[in-house]
């Protein structure tokens, strides 16, 4: 009797970023991890720009900084809508220009509601009552309820077709560990998208990650791309960012 599982080794590893994001379609909703530059999956975004998908809805905390990453995606004209908490920054000129030109729509979501809506999608929650935004313009048109004397508004989950996130290390099952505050939205988005693509500094052998320390279990991850160690690390040790 043939054991058909013998050859069905689980490997989520992909050769490069282009292969990992090849099937993102026009009109897709794409979650992009990161808080500012920390945890932003720059190599995956670059690959998405090269791949050409357009009319995208981007779900991310910010709407791009400087001229790289999400900002470059906006400048390339691929983004129709942004769902985020904090688009306006000192260096958000790419978004600012596109927004003022009427080329990009904005759905502004308080940061905690954004995180919880993404979490709810990944956790199978139908909706939730939150106190954040009560009595503000954010509450307009939303169902309200008073529970135990506290006022809440109803918020719905945020799902995505694809999540692009950045982690520090992965194994071929897609187990992930992050580095410092680069974790931010990664674990939430990984669970909230139909397909989750992760870029990591390093892929390690199965068993090399301490199971007690895995932050995102591989069940939430579909594809892993190794992009190499960032310039401020050497063999896993922090050496400081180049000036």
């Amino acid at each position: 009797m043939t054991n058909t599982f013998e050859v069905a080794v689980i490997s989520k590893l992909r050769a490069d970023a282009s292969e990992a994001i090849a099937d993102v379609g026009d009109g897709a909703t794409v979650m992009i991890g990161g808080f500012g530059a920390a945890g932003q999956p720059v190599e995956l975004i670059d690959a998405l720009i090269a791949q050409g998908a357009s009319d995208l809805t981007i779900v991310s905390n910010n709407a791009g900084n400087g001229d790289t990453g999400i900002a470059a995606l906006i400048t390339a004209g691929r983004v129709r809508r942004v769902v985020c908490s904090f688009p306006r920054q000192a260096d958000s000129h790419a978004f600012d220009a596109a927004y003022r030109a009427g080329e990009v729509e904005l759905e502004l979501v308080p940061q905690g509601n954004l995180a919880e809506r993404i979490r709810a999608a990944g956790a199978g929650i139908g909706a939730f009552f939150t106190p954040t935004g009560v009595g503000t313009t954010v509450a307009e048109g939303k169902e309200a309820r008073t529970i135990d004397g506290r006022d809440y508004i109803l918020e719905y989950p945020l799902r995505a077709d694809v999540a692009l996130i950045s982690a520090y290390r992965a194994d071929r099952w897609g187990n992930l560990v992050y580095r410092r505050t680069a974790r931010n939205f990664g674990p939430l988005m990984a669970a909230a998208a139909r397909t989750t693509v992760v870029q990591v500094d390093e892929v390690v052998e199965l068993g090399a990650l301490d199971p007690e320390a895995v932050v995102t279990p591989g069940i939430f991850v579909d594809r892993v791309v190794e992009v190499g160690e960032r310039p401020w690390l050497r063999d896993g040790e922090f050496v400081g960012a180049p000036a």
């Binding site: 920390a38 920054q89 995180a115 503000t136």
Partner: protein, 261 residues
């Protein structure tokens, strides 16, 4: 935390630096009251040891520099960290280790990292003791407006302000009393879009400290030559005089007493 470009993401209601307004440390020779650093130092005196505190972005982050060394006060940053330390030495900036203003920080012994849903659960769940925010306006009943002027063409950005405003056990505001145009930021009712309703408990300004009470705003402390009548004139509000007794439980010091008129 010297060396940070604090102006880049200055909080709402806290003036952004421009070439002629070089930033938070600018001297204010033409204005009575405390400058930003002195006000930050005054606020720091009211933060008790053991507190878990979020200092938002912009000017309130100056408070971190004024916390006495050796006191265990745990700083929370909403992008996923407790136990945040000061800015790193030049050359040791870790792009994976930023605060909510996206400025480089360091990690102190006892620090922990967590994802965004946990970080904001800490606010909504009532686990955070104090947060200090900037403001465009604060109303007599403690409504806060600090995220959007509603002006045509302004790009709104709320970030974590609404979550912090309703989440922390004590919400304090650090701001100038007056706008650049001389209008009062303390108002009977906010005209800018609200961040949170009846959420502010205390307002620290360059001229005086105000507690939000059931009977409106009470002045607990004035700075420099400021008088109650002057504050009433500037704000147009009926301010209670509570300067006769100490503010609630701050670590009183000679410095503090020296600030009283």
């Amino acid at each position: 935390m010297s060396g940070l470009d604090r102006g880049a993401l200055d909080g709402p209601g806290l003036d952004r630096p421009t070439p002629d307004r070089p930033g938070l440390d600018r001297p204010a020779p033409d204005r009575p009251g405390l400058d930003r650093r002195a006000l930050a130092a005054r606020i720091a005196q009211d933060i008790p040891e053991g507190a878990i505190v979020n200092l938002g972005i912009g000017a309130p982050t100056l408070i971190a520099d004024a916390l006495p060394a050796g006191l265990e006060i745990i700083l929370h940053t909403e992008n996923g960290m407790l136990g945040m330390g000061p800015a790193p030495e030049p050359g040791l900036v870790d792009p994976d280790l930023m605060n909510a203003g996206k400025q480089p920080v360091t990690e102190l012994p006892g620090a922990s990292y967590f994802h965004h849903a946990d970080s904001f659960g800490m606010m909504r769940g009532g686990h955070l003791d104090i947060c200090v925010l900037g403001a465009f306006q604060v109303s007599e009943r403690g409504d806060l407006a600090n995220w959007h002027t509603g002006a045509p063409g302004a790009i709104p950005a709320v970030g974590g302000a609404m979550d912090l405003a309703i989440g922390a056990k004590s919400v304090w505001v650090m701001t100038d009393l007056l706008t650049r145009d001389g209008g009062s930021k303390l108002v009977a009712a906010c005209t800018y879009p609200l961040t949170g309703v009846a959420c502010v408990s205390r307002v620290y300004t360059d001229r005086a400290v105000f507690d939000v009470t059931a009977a409106g705003l009470a002045v607990t402390e004035v700075f420099g030559d400021t008088t109650l009548d002057e504050l009433r004139g500037l704000t147009g509000l009926e301010l209670q005089d509570a300067t006769g007794h100490d503010g609630e439980g701050h670590r009183g010091s000679d410095d503090t007493k020296g600030m009283r008129s």
